[in-house]
Structure formats: C-alpha cells, structure tokens
Symmetry: C2
C-alpha cells in the first residue's frame, strides 16, 4: 500500500518530510496544487472541488491506499466529503492537532493560528470542543505569515513584528498551548518558541505520524518518493529548498471539466 | 460596444474604477479570477490558459468589443496570445505604462516594481527598450506588497519597512520615475509618494484611459456595471471596499476542460 499526500502548495512538504523520515521504506506520493494556491482565502465549495481533483489524481494514478491532507484549509472543509467519496482512509491535520493540544494543555486554554479559511471554518474549535467542552479556544487568522515564509523572511524583524501583532493578542488570553494550524508555520516554530517560551507548540506534521501508525497498514516498501505540482513555477523553489533541499519535482494537470 | 476588464483578482478594480469614472455612460463588465488568484507566481502557460478562459467569458457572455487586461502578469504573458485569438482590441497595462514613463523621465532612468511574474517576464523592460534604447531600466519584484495591501496594512509601519526594503535599492540607482507594475500598488501610491517625493509615479490604471479614447469606439451607453468573480470568498471584501465602497458582486464558473 502507498501513501498519497496533497496540499494547496509546497508548504505541505513539511508533512511529506516528517512522514518520509518516519516511514523510510514506504512509497509516498505528494501533490501540491500550486496552480491554484493558496486555498486559505477561498470558499468551501471551491476547496472541496480542488481537493477532490487532488485525491482523484493520487488514487487513480498511484492507487494509494491512504490520503493525507496536509493542507489545514482542505482538512477543515473537505475531509468528510473525501471520506465519503473514496473507499480509503483519509487523515487530515485538524483532529490529530486538536487531540494533542487538549492532552498537553494544563490550563485548558488553547490558541489556534491559521489562514482565514481554517479559522472561519472553526474546524479546530469544533474538534477541540468535541473532545472537551471545558477547554477554552482562542483563534487568530494570520494571513501574512504564509507570504513571509514563502519570501524566506523567517529570521527577519518584519516577521517578528507580524508574529507579535498576531500572537500578543492570543497570549493575553493566558493560553498555554498553541496549535500551528498551517503547513507553513512549522518553519516559524523556532522563532515563535523564542518569542513565546511559555507556550507548548503543537505541530500537526509531527502529530499525524502516530495516526498513520495506528492504521496498521502494510505499506508498499520500495521507498518511492514522487513529488508533483500543478504549476511548476520557480517562485516556490526557495520554500522547497528550505524544507527538503534539492529534489526533483514534476508538473501535472489535474483540473477536470465541471 | 462594451468594455470587458479582467484581472487575477479584485486588485484590478482600481482599473475598473478609473475606466468607470472616465467613461460614465459605457457598459463595463469586470471579471476577477479569485478562484485562482494570484497569477503573479505562476508559469506563462498557466497564465495564458487562465487569461483565455477569462476573455472567453467576457466575449461570449457579454459580447464585449474591447478587452482590458488589468492584471500586469497577464498583460505580460498573455496579451499577444489573446490579440491573435480574438478579433477585438486588447489593451494591457504594460505598454501604456512604459510609454508614459519614458515620456516623463528626465534622466532616462526608470524603476519598475511588480510581482515576480511581471518582473521575470521583463515585459516592462522590453517595452521601454523598444521605445528607447537609451533608457536604463531597473526592476524589482515586490511579492510582499500584495498581501500587505490585501490585509489592509496600507498605513502601517510594517508596510513602510517593506516598501523601503524594496525601493531603497531602486532609488540608489538614481531613478527619477517609478512604474507601479501591479494593480494593487495604486493603493500604496500616497505612501510611496510620501517616502520618495523625488520620484514621478506612473499608475497604469490612469494611463490606459487615453488608449481607450484613441480607439474611437462608440460604446453602448447604458451605464451597465457588472462585477464577477470566480470565487466569492469574504477574504477580499475589505480590498473591494477600499477601492469601490459597497458594490454587488456575482460568482461565476469559467474553468474549461483541458
């Protein structure tokens, strides 16, 4: 069996990387929908359609037996729809992240940062409340963090100003745990930890590994790694390099007639 | 006859606004491809395909007699292709902007700012060099300015820092004229003028008016204004409001089978 991972762009390579390192022998296929990135500001219907086209590609072309949705926005809006449509397990990043946060928070006050779409969907909020009604959840959309990461402004005073603008507000709510609800944010983890050493940081790209293990799937073990994007522009190459170093990336067309 | 304007998103409403004010009686249709915004970081082939789908919608649905490409990236990559494909005049923002810049520059040193796509295409560079070999052109991609405008950080210290990071470099080249090569930038015009009072600022949304007049077209004069987007998310509503105030926007699907 093989693992298929998709994301709106190349940020999800943080998830690909963690899964690759944890399951070194498994066959793993990644698709980044860079022709239509970002998903974060788009509507639920559009995101369901795009997600379905991504999943179709991975299932029909590589016969993957597990779909991992690396994108938080797609996990928020499309996971139930994909689970119903396909007969394979689908793991998103939201529920694993929510569970980990609830288990590590000591004061039951959790912050969530993400794109506008993720925050508006209230998916982390709902997932946490489903686990425990007694936890207080504070959400904050941080739409400027993705472009700052993509522009490699990770160790930069502008990024610190923006992080503080967003996180001071959450920190005032006396949270002790922060969910990084976007695939790009793990690249800012060191910076956020430095600025807010009081917070437990929950990084979904690490948390989902346990979920994949629990499925007890026997993966095909040829160590195949293939990375596809729907638009091969040079713009994202610095982000890919920051995450994975030098890798081969192929372009593919996935849009389907409406 | 009617005017059709398209853009990758709603930034092109700066162009719609200027045309609307200048031709108050003309019928004007606008399409923003918000389902696939931004174009700036995507490849030439993808941008040609998207632009063609936008033009098809305006021509087939409203029988427009003039296409204005408000998007700098699409003007850079797709204008020749659209001119060949359709039998109507197509006006982009690049050549008008280039001509104005050459005519106002006294020292023949011109700066151009835009998205990565616009800068990489060298379209302003080529257009200026076609007019005069003696002009020196200095380009700078400013990919963080679009998200800052979209997040309404117009009068904000972060935006000043980012503008200075990008423009100090151009200013050192002793330019006297700066082309705002992206539809979002007119919203930063006041800020840029304040920081760099030495520069002539060329805003294509104003420059193209003369080009439309010169076509001598008798427009249908029912003052119809219709604005369409391919994804009606709330995220861009603050930008629309900043440009136009309260307006009605309709959603439409334009993707075609490959």
């Amino acid at each position: 069996m093989a693992i298929g991972i998709f994301d709106s762009g190349v940020g999800g390579l943080t998830v690909f990387k963690s899964i690759s390192e944890h399951f070194p022998n498994a066959d793993i296929y990644y698709l980044g929908d860079t022709a239509r990135v970002p998903y974060g500001n788009k509507s639920k219907e559009t995101i369901k359609r795009y997600s379905s086209e991504c999943a179709d590609f991975l299932i029909k072309r590589f016969n993957v037996d597990l779909i991992v949705i690396a994108c938080n926005t797609a996990s928020s809006y499309a996971i139930d729809f994909l689970k119903k449509k396909y007969g394979v397990p689908v793991i998103g990043v939201v529920i694993p992240g929510a569970r980990r946060a609830v288990s590590v928070s000591k004061n039951a006050r959790i912050g969530v940062i993400g794109t506008r779409g993720t925050v508006r969907s209230c998916s982390y909020y709902d997932a946490i409340k489903n686990i425990s009604q007694n936890v207080s959840v504070f959400q904050k959309a941080c739409p400027l963090l993705v472009p700052l990461v993509e522009e490699a402004r990770i160790d930069h005073n502008i990024t610190d100003i923006v992080i503080k603008e967003y996180l001071d507000e959450l920190n005032k709510e006396n949270i002790d745990t922060l969910i990084l609800g976007c695939t790009h944010y793990p690249l800012l983890k060191k910076r956020i930890k430095m600025l807010y050493s009081n917070l437990n940081i929950v990084d979904s790209s690490e948390v989902i590994l346990g979920y994949i293990e629990k499925l007890g799937i026997n993966f095909r073990e040829n160590s195949i790694r293939e990375i596809f994007v729907t638009d091969k522009s040079e713009s994202f190459s610095s982000l890919v390099f920051q995450i994975l170093g030098e890798v081969e990336i192929k372009e593919v067309f996935i849009e389907q007639p409406f």
